[in-house]
Structures are given as structure tokens and as C-alpha cells.
């Protein structure tokens, strides 16, 4: 699914960053641009907002699309604190925050994973390129074929070989994925501000 989205969804290169690369590092203006693009394309947001509360260090959170990003970008997110980005611990109430949710910026809520797509050394200046998939509700779907849901198969040694020496462990599944509305998804490509090895 991840590589399919990388291949099929159209791309926006970040241009608001300051590192002089293509794409540049992530900036607030890039996040604003991609959210504006999805709004203009009439995409549905995933999350409603969180109303502001009288708590120190918190602020209201806008209704949002999801942005699926790499954990390696968290240093850049930290650098944007104060420039529109909120860590989920600065939400007025983080009961709606997902376990992988790093925070939010403008109309995007950022989910991070170490498995997010990264093109190593692929930018114009040879830096790693990160694919931040920003999507609305109607963008993609995932279909499991009837009778072929994922199954974990285990056969003990007696059934797996004539000499009963080895067991069999396997996973099988039949599935398909599709972009149901291409205007509701964008890959926002960026590099990191610093090339420091993580």
C-alpha cells in the first residue's frame, strides 16, 4: 500500500524551506499549501477540531487531514514549534490523539512511522527525500478479496515433512488497493534541514 501510494499519487515538492535543495526542507508554508490544495479539491477531513481550553501551553487544534511522515523528520518538526506546529501534548485534550500522532500543523495532523517511505540520497543535492502522504477521507481504499483475508498458517513438523523435522509458518493474503479520488491525496516531498545522521 505504501509503495503504491508513492507511485500513483501526484507530488508536491516542498519549496518553502531554507536548505536550497529540491525539494527543500519542510516549512509551515508547504503544510499550508498542501492543506489548501486538498480543501480546494473538496477533500474530506479526517478529524474535527479540538476546542481551546484554559490550560497552560495549549491551544485550539483545527479540523485536519492526516499527514503520514517518517520519524526521521521529528527533528524538523521540533524546529517548527512556535511556527504553527503543536506537539500532541500541547493539545487542549489529547484523548483524540492517535498513538502514532506526533502533533499538528495548521490543517494537518502528523502521524509518524519508521516505515514511512524515504528515497535515500535522491534529492537534487543528493539528500534523502521524505514522502509525506497527505490525504483526505475519500482518497484511498483497501479491498480484501472474499475468502482470502489474511491468514496465518502453521503446520507442525508431522504434517510439514516426511521426516517431521521442520514446521511450516506462512502468511497469505489477497488484497487490492486503489486511489478512489486522486484529487484528495498528495505526496508532499521534503528533505531534512540538517543532514545529521540519525
Amino acid at each position: 500500500m505504501r509503495d503504491y501510494v508513492v507511485s500513483a499519487a501526484s507530488q508536491i515538492n516542498c519549496g518553502g524551506g531554507s536548505n536550497g535543495d529540491n525539494p527543500t526542507n519542510l516549512s509551515p508554508s508547504d503544510c499550508s499549501l498542501v492543506a489548501t490544495t486538498l480543501d480546494t479539491n473538496n477533500a474530506y477531513k479526517f478529524m474535527s477540531g479540538i476546542e481551546g481550553m484554559d490550560r497552560f501551553g495549549t491551544g485550539p487544534i483545527r479540523s485536519s487531514y492526516f499527514m503520514l511522515s517518517s520519524t526521521e523528520l521529528q527533528t524538523d518538526f521540533d524546529g517548527l514549534v512556535g511556527a504553527g506546529i503543536f506537539n500532541n501534548w500541547n493539545y487542549p485534550n489529547n484523548s483524540s490523539a492517535l498513538p502514532s500522532e506526533w502533533g499538528s500543523i495548521f490543517n494537518l495532523r502528523i502521524l509518524t512511522s519508521s516505515e514511512a517511505p524515504v528515497a535515500r540520497g535522491a534529492s537534487a543535492n543528493g539528500q534523502d527525500v521524505y514522502y509525506n502522504t497527505v490525504l483526505g477521507k475519500q482518497a484511498i481504499t483497501h479491498i480484501n478479496q472474499d475468502g482470502f483475508s489474511m491468514s496465518l498458517i502453521y503446520r507442525d513438523p508431522y504434517y510439514s515433512g516426511m521426516l517431521a523435522q521442520n514446521a511450516t509458518l506462512a502468511v497469505k493474503f489477497a488484497q487490492a488497493q486503489a486511489l478512489t479520488q486522486d484529487t484528495a491525496i498528495r505526496n508532499l516531498l521534503c528533505t531534512r534541514l540538517s543532514g545529521t545522521i540519525l
Partner: protein, 384 residues
Amino acid sequence: MAEYSKLAKGHFTSTGFAQFVNLPFQPDYVRFTNYTLANSAATSQNVISGFWDVSMGQGQAVVQGYNATPALIYDVVSNGGISTFAAGLMLQYGPLVLLGSSGGAGIAKTSGTVLTVTTAAAHGLQPGDWIIFQNLYETLTTGMQQIAGIPFQVQSAGFSSTAFQVAWLGNASNLTVIDTSATGAAGFKKILFPTLYEPGVCFPYTITVTAGVGTVTCTAPHNFKIGQEIAFRIPSVYGAQNLNELPDPLTPGKPKYFYVVSTPSATQFTFANAPVLSTAYVVDAAFTSFPGLNFAQCVAVGDVNTGGDLYSGGNLYPSPNVFTGLVAAPTINGPAIQGAYINNTSQGFIIGSGSGRVLTTADLVGAAGNIVYWEAILHDYSVN
């Protein structure tokens, strides 16, 4: 111990370039025999047979071939030998091949449709491979960084072991020739598995419209089918804004889609109901604009069975073919709706076109037209 071993055999006709063999597993032992050369007079540099064990390391091989005498000798291929591959993950690249001052070569502005890349040493590519460029600074403020990051296919025209051509507006005024005085690590990388999930995003370098029919030429295969629904995303710097999917000035929020009506080549297609372009489409962004520069893109948004004009072509549900190289190759899929997204993942082994330590001008995979028989094994037990 042969309880879980996997064995496969087969043969292919060599193209003279590295041969991919798809298998349902990745072997740890491969051997092959070049039947054509074995059935020919003994000739210096002919490799008759070879084998590879995974413990030798990827890209190695032990071969038997004729030396200058000619006598049959053993030799070792240490680069461009036999290796395995698992093409499941995108975004994998080969090493950076240097141009400019570091690589002793560059990129020439050959014509309105071609850029020519030359390298000092053999570049190791073959026609049909895909590459991306990087660090194309001739000076700090000039060069070709505007095209860095776009996937290009290596063309068969103008190809040699140290030169190749890619399709682009090669006479664009804002491109500056990359030569041996270029600063930095100018170069290119091979995209190892460019077509795993198709049809993907393609990057047009020319778009013209004549009598309502638009003609689009891309930098690499588009893998669209006739009847396919497509959409454009073109940044304003390239012109032709009225092709853009959104926003539609007449009906805001209504995506503007087109249909592919012909595919004259792997990298070219035409589409119907094309409007007169608001401004000409020209890929000539200024060098200074390259940080954050967006590329014009064309994406598939529907297969040929998604309504619209009546389709009157051939079989709607063939097993899909994909232009991985210069010719469409079958995928591992069964019947599929034409133009629908498919997986083109694969695994197996590669017999490279490397030469030996003694047989220095030999070609492991043989010359074009040679018949090569192979066996591949994945053992279920290995002592070391």
C-alpha cells in the same frame, strides 16, 4: 537434504546486456552454459559456462572461457557477475556515477528533444534503464539542477558504453552544459526498480495540441492504455495551465480529466478533447528557481472501464504488460482490467555482462542472440 530446496531451470536468448530472470524465489546457487558459444569454434574471450554461489558475494561469478591461445581456462568475474534481486520496494537507487570535474565528463545540449550524457568510464547502464540526475551545478548559479530528480529513461539511440541520451528539451535556454569544469558531485543514479506499481506518475517534457488532440511525450514510459482516464498537474512556470485537473475556473472543484486515445510509443500518448493551450508548454524553468521546483506531472485516474467514451479496442482483460525497459514485458499477474493499477513486483537472479580478471574483454552473458541455459537452486541446508 532436499526437503525444502527450490530448483528451477530455463533458457533465454541473450541481448548482450544483463539478463533478469524472474523466479518465485531468490536462488543461492546459479550455473549457466552458453550453448551458442559452446557450439562455435574456440575463440578468445568467449565465456562458455559459469556458476555463482551466494557465499561468493553478489555480482561475482566463476567462469570457464577461452584465453588468447585459445585455451579453455577458469576465471573470476568480480563485477557484473551473477546476483539476486527482490523487486518489491520502490525508491531504491544504484551508486552515484560522477560527471563534471569529478567524473571527467558531462551533459551536452544536443537538440530540442535530446540531452547527451557522457562518462569517462563505462557507465554500466543499458538502453531502457531509468536514472535520476543530481548536483548538476556547472557553477554555483548555472547548470541543470532544474531536471534533477526527474526520472529519465536511457534511450537506445546514441547509446554506447560511455554515452547515452535522455529525452528533454535539450536546447532549453536556461540549461547550462555540464562539462569537466562543473563544480560539486554532478552525476546520476540508476533507479533500480522504477515500474513496480503501474501506471504511476509520469513527467511530460512536451505537450502540444492539434485539432483537439493533445500529444504528450514523457521522460520515461507512461504505461497508459488506450481509453485510460488521465489528469495533469502542471505548475504555472511551464504554461498550459488550462490542462490542469483543478481548479476548474468554470466549475470549481470539478476535476478535469482526459482520455488516452493512442499510445504511439512507450513514452508518448495522445488524448482526446484537448483544449487550445492557454500558453505553450515549455519546460525551461530558470536555474535559480530549482530549490523547491515542482515538476509537471500526468497521473492515471481511471482504467478503461470507467465510463466515458465507448471503448472499441481489444481484449479488456489481458494479463498486463509493463514497459520496464524499451519493450513491454509480461508481469506476474493474471487477467486484469486494462489501465487499472497493478503490482509488478518480482524476484529472481541476474546474469550480468561483466568481464573476467584474465578474460578482460569477455561478456558473461554472451553476445546478442546467444542461447543461454541456466539452472538456479535455493538450498534448504548450507554448511557455510
